[in-house]
């Protein structure tokens, strides 16, 4: 199928861009990083086209549905969001070192998607709901923001560690200042949090329309609540206890690990109603 070809090309582009960003970081060659940016833009175009093509192909197959409803589709949508979110941040902060920490996440996601069943399957009745589409989209935009936040948090920890030892130079010299990194960790989370909140709510609305219960404590729901609570704790610790810097960075990484578990771990380790990974 054409859409899968296009997604494969996207995977390749993310791979090349990751290599570019990392090489640029260690080789201190801005030009290579700039090429990385253009590759990411190309990947954005190709993956957007791929999503469109997949959508159209599903109609041609007589299935007709938005491509955000199984593990493969959610993974590519996640990578798509991470990439766009990253490009926006890069554009705004005019710093390409972030790419070395964020684009590999998109690449890894696409590689994982590549190992999964990619054909367009019809939707079982329970998944035919506009609420579900809104649910997946909002959740994954939120997850993408958390991924960016965690990538920046790693940069923060690297930079803070070197500064603590009063070392200068090294790759971290190219990073934005710790003040900006700290701010960015927070900024990404305040983008992710409302999206995750909306994601949980639309999921509840979907469940209510399908089963008559908006909350049933199934493992996936519960894990999304856990993720939400971790970030709520982050926000309160930051506002009122002055948890900035190192501790905030660590909380951001913990939050993203919880997100990953919510997304993949629950299906691989626990069981529930959700469709990903299962059938």
């Amino acid at each position: 199928m054409l859409n899968v070809r296009l997604f494969d090309i996207t995977t390749l582009l993310f791979g090349v861009a990751s290599v570019n960003y990392v090489t640029a970081l260690y080789g201190k060659k801005e030009t290579i990083a700039r090429i990385g940016t253009w590759i990411c833009i190309a990947a954005a175009v190709v993956s957007t086209a791929a999503i469109g093509v997949r959508w159209a192909e599903s109609y041609r197959m007589g299935i007709g549905r938005i491509p955000v409803t199984n593990l493969y589709e959610s993974l590519v949508f996640f990578a798509w969001s991470v990439n766009l979110f990253y490009l926006a941040v890069e554009w705004k902060y005019k710093n390409r070192t972030l790419g070395a920490f964020v684009i590999p996440i998109a690449f890894g996601t696409m590689l994982f998607a590549w190992t999964n069943e990619s054909s367009i399957q019809p939707l079982v009745p329970a998944l035919q709901s506009y609420w579900l589409h809104a649910h997946v989209i909002t959740c994954f935009v939120g997850y993408a923001a958390f991924a960016v936040s965690a990538g920046v948090a790693v940069m923060y920890l690297m930079k803070a560690k070197r500064e603590e030892r009063k070392l200068t130079g090294g790759v971290v010299a190219l990073f934005p200042s710790t003040k900006i990194l700290d701010d960015l960790i927070y900024k990404a989370i305040i983008w992710g949090f409302p999206f995750l909140t909306a994601g949980i709510i639309t999921g509840a609305a979907w469940a209510n329309y399908a089963w008559g219960t908006y909350w049933s404590w199934d493992p996936k729901e519960t894990w999304s609540l856990i993720v939400w609570l971790v970030y709520a704790a982050f926000l309160h610790a930051r506002v009122t206890r002055g948890w900035h810097g190192r501790r905030a960075a660590i909380l951001s990484i913990v939050g993203f690990l919880a997100t990953l578990f919510c997304y993949l771990g629950v299906n691989l380790v626990l069981s529930g109603l959700h469709s990903y990974g299962g059938a």
């Binding site: 079982v124 009745p125 909140t197 008559g212 519960t222």
Partner: protein, 453 residues
């Protein structure tokens, strides 16, 4: 007296405990940890399931701690109560102060305030105080927000603000949590959840709830007229549908075909398509005709029963396939004619003339499978659910207000300096998003300096 004082300080301490954010963060983290446990120990499973996983001793301990039904245990509810009390106390403690600050903004920039502000600039220019104030009022109105002017001992103060509402985003968010809890409580107390299996053609008006230990009389009946399944070309189910009628006082008052994700609602009770199954054995209809076209009769066959066809023989249906070798639904029949060996052959629903090939005195066609289903309906009444949705909407709105708006304030102070020129002090503050505001401040600073009298 001493007694009273100690009481007061105890009260104080209790109050401090309940308004503290440490408690909030602690409770949030505990809730997260409990939720993790709740996903590791599967909740509300039948005892046999737990027996496979744990030893009897472990089961007794976990059961005693309420860990098999955590979310309804007293300690979990207590934790939610603690969380709510914390939230309410915190609001009671802070909100009045915020309202006060917002109602009575500090409109004059005195020396003390100036020292607390990070963004301050000063310059001098020629001109007359009042005229300059009018000029700056105009300019600031264009560049930021229209300021008010206060005069104080010969000094003129301009004050402008934007995004006051951002101060309330947090409270809207917190209030929304309480509204959601309220909706959930109302739903639990005044609502019910039940389950009904209704065979096609039959109706139900009493719904078992709480796993069958209780019953709710709806006051009306729901009849299942028909249930059917549609399939995708690959054979996967596409939609489960039930044609339902609501019958009240012997009259049909509502009729709707429900599907998964498209329920029926009557008098606040919702019916959701949830499952289905066969109700009793299916029958098949077979048409018996003469090859020259005359004399048709149809017979209905039940599984395992032979049926006599006068002047021909007995037939029975022995197998059914939904898609026989790509030719569609097919029925395997056994024909026994007196004095002959029993013959076994397939009838194809899509090719009614197919059986002519036997060149017998009659030919048979498979007219259809009459399956009788029951439809499984989830029945729910939740008078709190709309309150929950109001809370949810407020929550998203509140979070956006809290995160993306900021309360930005600007002051300009004009006073006559010693050298006859006017001293201008521009100061600004924001409660959020400092970096963005700094840029804005720089721009306003440049604008104000460039403004012509």
């Amino acid at each position: 007296m001493a007694e009273g004082k100690r009481n007061e300080s105890l009260m104080d301490r209790v109050w401090k405990f309940f308004i503290s954010l440490k408690l909030a963060i602690f409770v949030i983290i505990v809730l997260a940890i409990i939720s993790i446990i709740g996903t590791i120990i599967e909740q509300n499973q039948p005892l046999e399931k737990y027996r496979q996983l744990y030893s009897d001793g472990t089961i007794r301990v976990l059961e005693g701690l309420g860990l098999f039904d955590m979310y309804h245990s007293w300690w979990f509810l207590l934790l939610l109560v603690l969380f709510t009390v914390n939230l309410i106390c915190c609001t009671v403690d802070r909100l009045p102060r915020v309202v006060k600050v917002v109602r009575n903004p500090k409109t004059t920039l005195d020396g003390n305030l100036e020292k607390t502000l990070g963004l301050v600039d000063r310059w001098k220019r020629k001109g007359e105080l009042k005229a300059l104030a009018a000029t700056y009022q105009e300019a600031l109105g264009g560049a930021f927000a229209r300021p008010r002017v206060t005069e104080n001992e010969g000094t003129l103060h301009l004050y402008a603000e934007k995004g006051v509402i951002s101060r309330f985003g947090v409270y809207v968010t917190h209030l929304s949590i309480i509204i959601i809890f309220l909706g959930a409580i109302i739903g639990n107390v005044f609502g019910f959840k039940g389950y009904a299996n209704i065979v096609e053609g039959q109706s139900a008006s009493v719904i078992p709830t709480r796993g069958g230990t209780n019953h709710v009389d709806l006051g009306f009946a729901v009849r299942c007229n028909k249930f059917w399944v549609e399939y995708y070309p690959n054979g996967q189910p596409k939609e489960y549908s039930s044609d339902l009628s609501v019958i009240e006082n012997g009259r049909e008052v509502l009729r709707k075909t429900i599907e998964v994700n498209d329920p029926l609602q009557y008098k606040g009770v919702w019916f959701y398509q949830s499952s289905y199954g066969p109700a009793g054995a299916s029958t098949v209809t077979v048409a018996v005709r003469d090859p020259d076209g005359g004399g048709g009769e149809t017979v209905t066959l039940s599984p395992g029963r032979k049926k006599e066809i006068a002047g021909y023989g007995t037939i029975s249906a022995v197998d059914y396939q939904g898609n026989f070798q790509g030719l569609g639904p097919a029925l395997l029949v056994v024909l026994e004619k007196p004095g002959n060996q029993p013959a076994q052959f397939w009838l194809l629903k899509s090719y009614p003339e197919f059986d002519r090939q036997r060149r017998d005195s009659r030919y048979l066609s498979f007219a259809g499978l009459n399956e009788i289903f029951y439809t499984g309906l989830q029945v729910a009444k939740d008078p709190g659910v709309n309150i929950v949705w109001v809370g949810c909407t407020l929550m998203v709105v509140g979070i956006m207000i809290a995160f993306f708006l900021s309360h930005q304030r600007l002051w300009i102070r004009l006073s006559r300096g010693g050298d006859g020129r006017v001293e201008v002090v521009l100061a600004g503050s924001t409660n959020k998003n400092r970096l963005v505001f700094e840029k804005k401040f720089e721009k306003i600073q440049a604008d104000m300096k460039a403004v012509k009298a």
